[in-house]
Amino acid sequence: MVQVAWLIPALPLIAFAINGALGRTYLKKRTGIIANAGVLGALVVSVLLFVAQLDHAEPETVSLWTWAVSGDFALDIVLRVDALTLVMLLVVTSVSFMVHVYSIGYMDNDPGFWRFFTYLPLFVFAMIMLVMANNLLVLFVFWEAVGLCSYLLIGFWFERQSASAAAVKAFLTNRIGDVGFLIGLLLIWHVFGTLNYDEIFSLAPVVEAARPGILTLICLMLFVGAMGKSAQFPLHVWLPDAMEGPTPVSALIHAATMVTAGVYMVARFNPLYVLSSTAMTVVALVGAFTALFAATIGLTQNDIKRVLAYSTVSQLGLMFMALGVGAFTAAIFHLATHAFFKGLLFLGSGSVIHGTDEEQDMQRMGGLFGKMPVTGATYIIGGLALSGIIPLAGFWSKDELLGATLLSGDLGYLLFVLGALASLLTAVYTFRMIFLTFFGKTRMAAERFSHVHESPRVMTVPLIVLAVGAVGAGFVGVPPEHGLIHNYLHDTFLAAEFAGLVHVPSTVFVLALMAVSTVIALLGILVAYGIFMRRSPAPESVAGLAPPLHALLVNKYYLDDFYDAVLAGGTRTAGGLFAWFDLNIVDGVVNLIGLVVRGVGGGLRRMQTGRLENYAFSVALGTALVLAFYIMMAR
């Protein structure tokens, strides 16, 4: 069964190839069908494979071809199928398929329809390969490939300067992370002499014993890569801007799948991370800080997609926090549930944008629930799941990772407080968004409000399906610590257990925690209700409570401006200096030499009268001198 694993990436790839070659001239609208078929095929094969592998989650591999052999460096392209991969595959292919279906409706009137359905399967292919990679290099290759797709799709509406700018920003920020990843990869090659997962994992304890500290360095470098891809502070700046892309893209790439690649990577390298407590602490702290940091910004954003983007950054921060305390299963669990409800929220916001004729500013919305009931209902489900209301998906996973954090020791208390605060703010901004969008009196012009409509079925059906997922996906983790996903991933994260990072909570603890997190979520919703429903329209008045704080948050702590001025501006200034140096100094020296030679030549040129007899005379004179010299010497 595992031998057909190559079909999973191959089918979307074939769809990409067909659409890319024929889409513009021949297929046009039919590209949507082909892309959907390809991704559906991948989904079906993934499910079949999952079912077939359900009872034994031993890693299996499928060799494809030799990539390169150079001296003692040898690398094959190998597909890996194990528990973690299969979980990721299921999430990726199912969400992808929903987004593909949805996009047929959403992109219907776009002149770049075929282009969209060329890029999207390419992304799915790359993402599938990313999770199926069996060695670091292939992981890196597709790590970059998904970044490329992200670049292409963010800049999809390339006539907009802001879209192109956002695309370049995303690519470059990711590149900064990738430099860390690449250095980590090279260090692994240098230290381990191999890039294969299993070999690295089995050698890790030996290496740690032989060269203490090197693993910390490697883990931190890899984590820099993860920070770039998963938009962790301080490399998070690209993700909100990435909302310039079409909304299905935001749902698929910038919420459900690609941005979780960092989480996947750290989880995949758990045998390395558990050996370095420093790296783990860094991961946890960065994650927790990002979670809170992004949530505060999310409170003040008015663009519906930007709120979701900061929410994504925040949720990814929670996942990293869980990874950092060794709760790998909880992190992956949250990754999976998050994919469903965040995908749902994004698609819902896309539906809103679609129905309101490209309106993204929540200040000009309100009261939309009556106009678009399906979207509104599913959106509320997604919001509840995100806030962590029992028994929706987000509750189980968030509850579990908060619990694991609390149990992880001294640092755990701090992390827990940060995480809980982030959860509280999450509930606040989520319901701020819901209230501002769907409830209260509308703030739209009457003329426009009358044109608001529910989206077509091709878009609402995916919403419903994802809403079902957002409700039900959490049950794979029930009962806590002993659910389906825990058993399934148990072997993958065995290293954490060996390292003593897994603490089994008592039942009382679990129940108490459940109560606490429910209270937190409800509290958040209440606060949002109090501010944004009862005193609607509220944003301005809220801002008036603490103007400096509000300004700070609205401007995202001025981090973007700082980067723009210092990093981009600095690089440009330096580039200008270098260019000047090259033109005037380096080339100047060359030209100076040329000038000197020319000057000397000009002097000598005057000797060239051009008259033959002068030349003949010089010859004669020269001969006379040579002979004179000869005669002198002969004496």
């Binding site: 597709f142 970059e144 006539e159 300067q161 690449l182 090259d582 380096v586």
Partner: protein, 500 residues
């Protein structure tokens, strides 16, 4: 196949075509002959590849005495290193001549003659197994290049050609001196006076002599590569050269420098190479970062790509002077990839220029609206140039970095990694300003690529993709030969360490 002098045929076919072209009047006929000549040359070099057995040293050798009194032979042969270069060379020349069909209408006969002559010269450099023959080809190639830039070039072509020729001539004259010195030193110690490259490579030379000879060779190759600070001829030459001239210049001419380092500098002067390692590594890293920084601020498309070449070729020298298998293989792959990708980028710029008659980035914008096929291909090659994994550019850079990490010169590797951020920055920023955003009024009527132009770029794109997905196909050609060089080098390292 032993009985057929296939290398000679590959080498001289374009010359025969060139001579025939001289006697033709019709443009169509001239192109037919030129294309046939270069296509046959390409096919035969692929045939050589098919018959080539990796790791068996020099193959398809031909030799007969030329000036036996002086130990000069006409000797040809290929190993993996030169085979890859020859393949790249014949491939690019064929495409360039096909491209010229659509773009060159001025002095066609002279143009084709020059191009074919250039092909002979460059192929000869890679095939020659005799120093004199090598030097002859090395210099002969300058003349058609000079003509190509000087006749079909831009406004400041005279300045550019003179600079190019003087610069390279300066380097190669020193090399000639070193070759003669080598000849006499080898002859004095062994009594055999020969210019045979393989035989001279077997010899061992004193440390002082190595240092001086290395320096002379180094200048010639460093100017060709070009390494910072000998690079300033490159932007000028590229900007003024006609499109095909730029393609050949970037695609193959620069590779002669890297080839020279691998073929001559390392085997002939192992001790001197070791001694110069640090300096060259520093220069390489400077080239990578400095070239990228300068490229960032260029306003002319061709200059930008020219400086990106400086940056990319920095990886080549970095790889070579890491003295590791991976580094050398990476350098080879980087040269191959750079030849394809930068060649293709110059073709793209040429096609753009034919349509807009402008190369200043500020005057372009939003061209993707009118030129969708072009936009896709241009993006493809820009990404390949950035070193996107899965395309050929990545393989070379990655393996060079591997080499740097293996050789414990990690600091250089780490610094070089930052070059890849900068390369993404200048390429994507350029692409954004040229292709994306809103279209300018003057460009409303541009036409997209013709089928022929698309086919040319697509052919290059396919090879780029192939080399990125399955680089082993190409690495397998030369890795055995590079490993021989590395082993010889490390052997001397060990021996000199023992002496100390």
């Amino acid at each position: 196949m032993d009985s057929i002098p296939i290398l000679s045929i590959v080498l001289w076919l374009p010359l025969i075509a060139a001579v025939i072209v001289l006697f033709l009047r019709e443009r169509r006929a001239m192109f037919a002959v030129a294309m046939a000549g270069s296509a046959l040359s390409l096919i035969l070099s692929v045939a050589v590849w098919a018959g080539f057995s990796p790791g068996d040293g020099m193959q398809f050798r031909e030799s007969f005495d030329w000036l036996p009194a002086l130990g000069i032979q006409y000797a040809l042969g290929v190993d993996g290193i030169s085979l890859l270069m020859v393949l790249l060379n014949t491939f690019l020349f064929f495409l360039c001549i096909v491209y010229a069909w659509a773009s060159v209408h001025d002095r066609v006969k002279e143009y084709l003659f020059t191009m074919l002559l250039l092909e002979v010269g460059i192929t000869g450099v890679f095939l020659a197994l005799d120093f004199v023959l090598f030097y002859v080809f090395w210099e002969i190639m300058l003349i058609p290049m000079y003509v190509l830039i000087g006749v079909w070039g831009g406004e400041r072509r005279v300045y550019a050609t003179v600079k190019f020729v003087l610069y390279t001539l300066f380097g190669s004259l020193l090399m000639l001196v070193a070759i003669l010195a080598l000849y006499f030193v080898y002859g004095n110690t062994t009594g055999v006076y020969t210019f045979d490259i393989l035989e001279l490579t077997q010899g061992t030379y004193g440390e002082r002599f190595q240092l001086w000879a290395f320096l002379a060779f180094f200048l010639a190759f460093a100017i060709k590569v070009p390494m910072v600070p000998f690079h300033t001829w490159l932007p000028d030459a590229h900007v003024e050269a006609p499109t095909t001239g730029s393609v050949i210049l970037a695609g193959i001419l620069l590779k002669m420098g890297g080839y020279g380092f691998i073929r001559f500098s390392l085997p002939l002067f192992p001790d001197a190479s070791q001694a110069a390692q640090t300096i060259i590594l520093v220069l390489s890293v400077i080239a990578i970062l400095y070239g990228a920084m300068v490229a960032l601020m260029q306003t002319d498309l061709k200059k930008l790509i020219a400086y990106s070449s400086v940056s990319h070729m920095g990886f080549v020298t970095l790889g070579i002077f890491s003295f590791t298998q991976q580094g050398l293989d990476g350098a080879m792959m980087q040269m191959f990839s750079h030849g394809l990708v930068t060649g293709a980028l110059f073709l793209c710029v040429g096609q753009l220029y034919e349509r807009t008659h402008d190369r200043r980035i500020a005057n372009l914008g939003g061209l993707a609206h009118r030129l969708p096929i072009f936009a896709a291909l241009f993006l493809f090659f820009s990404l390949a140039s950035i070193g996107l994994p899965g395309l050929s550019g990545f393989v070379g850079e990655f393996m060079v970095l591997l080499g740097a990490f293996v050789a414990d010169i990690r600091i250089f590797g780490v610094l070089a990694v930052f070059g890849i951020i900068l390369s993404a920055a200048y390429m994507l920023w350029m692409y954004w300003r040229v292709m994306l955003g809103s279209l300018k009024e003057v460009h409303r009527r541009l036409e997209d690529l013709t089928r022929l132009e698309t086919a040319i770029l697509a052919a290059m794109a396919l090879v780029t993709l192939w080399a990125g997905i399955q680089p082993q196909v190409f690495i397998g050609i030369f890795t055995a030969d590079t490993s021989g060089i590395v082993q010889a080098l490390t052997a001397t390292e060990v021996s000199s360490a023992l002496i100390k």
